[in-house]
Symmetry: D2
Subunit: 395 residues, 4 copies
């Protein structure tokens, strides 16, 4: 590193022209001694980068493996799908594929989206708790106007409902919007801000002096919260399957009874640890599909949460369900339209408008496949061995 560091090359106007990207690549080599032939080898049209990144220097290449086919029994996703998973973790694609084979043999995982909203959470600062409580009453009485004000900023987003929580002399709210095929964080930010400005203008004098902050942190953006587990963020989706004992035994060497007991001990362990997900490794499937399809990777923070519930049936078949309360996904906008990301969505027939529920269902089905496959591997004592086989160079 040089002692007097130089600024990264930028030009006024358009920092996405090939020339300035090249200048930055050269700058890296000059300043750090690192040549970047692979970073530079991207096929992304630079003109598509604006709105996705600043100071672009190229692209990361993340290996993608193809898993499947996965038969889906969703409301939006029906039939067989091939699932592109971006990862650098050996074993992952192989393990998810095994789970997909199991699920496909029994008609596919059943998926149900319970609700889907994106949130922005303004907090109002009042003179005292009584004024705050009064504000809450006023917000409920004026919901229609607040909704109208919010929706002036977007043709897609619709304000569904406002959660309210009184603490101290603050009134914490959580605005819930439907957002079409977009994830919608920015859409909701703008709409909530417009709503707040309307509120500020129209507050009756007897509520006293009130100010607001656009986020009082209970959204809870880019982090998990128990509030998400209860009231969702993005989509709340349930995926279910009944796993026949004999099928599991023949395909994984695991006994469903053993898998069940391991589940119980893990659920208790999860409660002991205070975990955000009492399942196995949902984050693996979610992160790899997010990466492949242009979702915001930071949302793995929220989307990793889940509640697994299993039952051992009379005949030793295993009912397995996973409730994912905060899957944040899009099939339009953000990174979804970039070069490889769009191809991956198209492989699953999920690019563009009207596809987001389908994509979320495939994601949920994929996650369940991974839960079952790894759970069986642990019980059958194949966990360490399979990583030895597939992940040899990973310490």
């Amino acid at each position: 590193m040089s002692d007097t560091p130089k600024s990264i090359p930028r030009i006024s106007g358009n920092n996405f022209q090939p020339e300035i990207i090249k200048a930055r690549q050269d700058f890296i080599t000059a300043e750090t001694g690192t040549s970047v032939p692979h970073l530079s080898a991207t096929t992304i049209d630079p003109s598509t980068l604006k709105g996705n990144v600043e100071n672009p220097i190229g692209a990361a290449q993340i290996p993608i493996g193809l898993a499947g086919p996965l038969l889906m029994n969703g409301e939006h996703a029906k039939g067989h799908f091939y699932v592109p998973m971006a990862t650098t973790e050996g074993t992952l694609v192989a393990s998810y594929s095994r789970g997909m084979r199991i699920l496909s043999q029994i008609g596919g995982p059943k998926t149900t989206i319970i609700e889907r909203y994106m949130q922005r959470a303004p907090v109002f600062h009042c003179e005292d708790a009584r004024k705050a409580r009064g504000l809450g009453e006023w917000l409920r009485a004026n919901f229609a106007s607040i909704k109208a004000a919010a929706e002036t900023t977007t043709s897609v987003g619709k304000l569904s409902h406002i959660e309210e929580y009184g603490v101290s002399r603050m009134w914490y709210t959580r605005f819930n919007f439907t957002t079409g095929d977009a994830a919608g964080q920015n859409m909701c930010g703008k709409a909530a801000d417009a709503a707040c400005r309307w509120i500020m203008k129209n507050l009756p004098a007897d509520l006293g002096k009130i100010t607001y902050t656009l986020s009082g942190a209970i959204d809870t953006d880019k982090k998990h919260s128990h509030l998400n587990t209860l009231h969702s963020r993005g989509a709340r989706v349930v995926v279910e399957a009944v796993l026949p004992r004999d099928l599991i035994k023949s395909m994984t060497r695991a006994e469903t009874r053993d898998m069940y007991r391991a589940r119980q001990v893990s659920m208790l362990g999860g409660m002991l640890a205070g975990t955000t997900n009492n399942g196995v490794h949902a984050a693996n499937g979610i992160a790899s599909l997010f990466l492949a399809t242009g979702q915001d990777e930071a949302n793995v923070a929220e989307s990793q949460a889940g509640l697994t519930y299993v039952e051992l049936l009379e005949n030793d078949d295993l009912y397995w369900s996973l409730t994912l309360p905060s899957i944040i996904a899009a099939t339009y906008g953000g990174g979804t339209g970039l070069a490889t990301q769009r191809e991956c969505l198209e492989i699953m027939g999920c690019y563009g408008s009207g596809k987001v529920e389908k994509f979320i269902e495939i994601l949920a089905g994929t996650v369940l496949a991974g839960e079952i496959s790894l759970s069986a591997a642990v019980v059958a004592n194949e966990w360490v061995e399979s990583h030895d086989k597939h992940g040899r160079n990973r310490p």
Copy 2:
């Protein structure tokens, strides 16, 4: 989707040859009607894929922007660094860069790695709680032998200590290993398994019948837990800075007093929501650096957690600290050696052995830059506007 889905092409022996990768690309087009020119355009040497992915079909291209320079005041990272961030979220690189400029002007963020271990958490099933308690005593008395058994499987990993928690008739343990420059999940899995096998062989008869499961879920792999906040997973790193009032005002238009008050309200909001991170958006910085450098993206689930603590000093300067208890990172092994990932590590002088602490410190400094920049933007009412400017096509 076809009704009778075909299996994904594989060959016996080597599924990483260019021919079979090409066959899978053609298969995708045939089966789904999707051509994948961009996925196919990867420059990754297929022979390097083994151990990172199965059934490869190409690579995702994720835009990378260059942030910095960031002056670091670490124990391992000293001097200026340019930071490659992979993302599809507009505004992110620009915002982090602004924070880096602020931090660089005051000598850089001070970083301290408190501890760093990787965990695997076997659970032992005993006849009753008294036997379980007895097992705990026996484990402590035989730590040296257990450690020796674990370390037969690895030249790098060292067993540091074993946490123990008695619940019901189970004895939950959490083996803590140092893992060199690797993240070390698999290394720890193998070593803990070897330790457990030794334990099973050597248990005294008076402890009764005991079995074990290699993970009782309190590791807690690919998910956050409160246990991580307390006892760390991967690195526990603190990053600190004192932000001068006038500097903040001139560079962001925000008053430190307002930033401080917003912090207080957000910390309360975080407690209300039951959040895993009372800061702003650590996951953004973490995910983008993880992606660029070949870390396991699913570990965003754990690494997103954090505790922010700020103080408004007498002179209105702002002391800001962030404690990240579970940063899982590597500079060797896994995805770090892949084409673009290695280049990004090299840009920061962080590729290979003896570099992981340096990388973790740069990561922590980067995260702090993002916290400060966004916090100032929210207070200065520039949040919505800046997303409008930089993220125009993102809904």
Copy 3:
């Protein structure tokens, strides 16, 4: 203990007659060698015991100290009150009294009851998650009938609203009732059961087979939950005060700045520990008032939770607020009508109908007094000393 234990004396008909109580006291002496003159010395009219206890043998005597006067600035509690506190912890009454003197000098704590409901939480077991989601829709569409069915069992309780949470193929609900001056757990249990029976009878066939359990555990009875922090259980009450710097200094020797800083460090500590209350010792005031006034002591489990939020004002005065989200209290029914319990309620003018909000406000004001007094003592280094002075015989 004898080897062949005898049954506790009971008679058919009335186990509350003085004779059978006496027989049990003699039985204790005969079987355990313990004479119980103090247990026997109760002045409770045995005929009032039915419904409060079975197998009565007498009464515990818990010392009561009188704290106050406490000036209240509530909506229901206005003016000065003397507060009877039952406790065996030395220092407690003295410390709370000191806090009351401080609060009384500044016009009294301001109290605001945000909401007050009692809950019962039936869970419905459905064939799959889609049926469960459908049930939710049906419940919302049939709320009026469900409410009517619930209210057939009680002249006091009114069903306000039903929270709903979908997990797996279960539909967890939380029925929220207003309960007049009673705490209302049993009232809500009966009403919710009646509602569930109506639901079972009237469910449309297309929702499939559905069964229910009267409590799916999210009520959450006799235990704290994060759900309570968010959605309250019993009363959600906020108590606030602005503490002048000079007053605090002269009455406690503590500087408000030091108290503020200690609060910040404690709030962070609370977040680190994962605590249910980021304040000081609310459970002390709550338990002692619960005991004195015939509340259900087990509800300390729920009522102990709280969120403290403080601000250091420009002039170094300290704004202090405490939000108690789950105060379960009654001024009618249960133990409130027993001999000493009724006297204690009457001392505060809180016995009988229409008094429960007043009582809750006095409770909240009392709790705040204790928070301030102990916080000041810790900062002024008087904590250990004052326990030495007042609590000499307590190890």
Copy 4:
């Protein structure tokens, strides 16, 4: 309430003389119009009140019912016990008694105390995180001296170990003491304070300026925390039993299979709600025994927490366990020596030195009895009915 409130009568010297107690009783009547014959009727020797209460005005009388006999299979509690429970909740004693009958028929609950410590949690404020980390190293290196300094203040308490957690530039510690038969909060406070004073005097200069606060809130006194669930507070005790299917059926009309399934749904509900106890109503048994025996009622806040784990065995018997991680109890000091409290301890042979483990085991066995009885009642649909029968006057 009068407008100009009078001070509560006090005299210099001894506020526990009968005359001044009588003066306060008269004062109450004069000021509030309430006569207090029952409060006044206490048989407690006023000279024993000092150290337990200030400004005494009499005593609360809480009904006590006798439950049992309960056969115990503990390490310290063996044989049959009659258990005095103080409560105002109808049904409680009857329900616990039923559970005790069940448990006694199968040899009694097996109890195991895993560990028992009391905590005080000083936090150290350092110049930066590196100094804080250095302090941690120094504390570990000087443990013997710190222990010696702490133990100068007490002949009973022994410092066992110090937990350490680094956050920001603070070093949070949690001193763990053994405390003999006392609960020991004050003992630990004094000892930890002495240790901190020694630390302040002996710190090496290179650690910079360090101050401390005696409690950084992670003790966590009078409130639950996840830290308690992991690392206990007071006693961590496990209670277990195997419930034969036929016995349960004949004594409760419930099927063990139904009880098991209800448990699963409740455990999931508990995880959904974010509860501190995934069992049924441990706080009931704990609060009533605490009250009867002079424990600190406010500690119900901590002691209510628990982890239930059940297994349905091959023969449909039910293995049931409950882990209570934070039972704070004493058989010496505090309120245990008061008139009725001592009698109740004596009934169980638990008064005085060397008895605290015995008492904790009986408490744990009692709690389990209540868990089983209520669980069976819920499944057998007798819950609402039994409250109707036993608790008629309770709304």
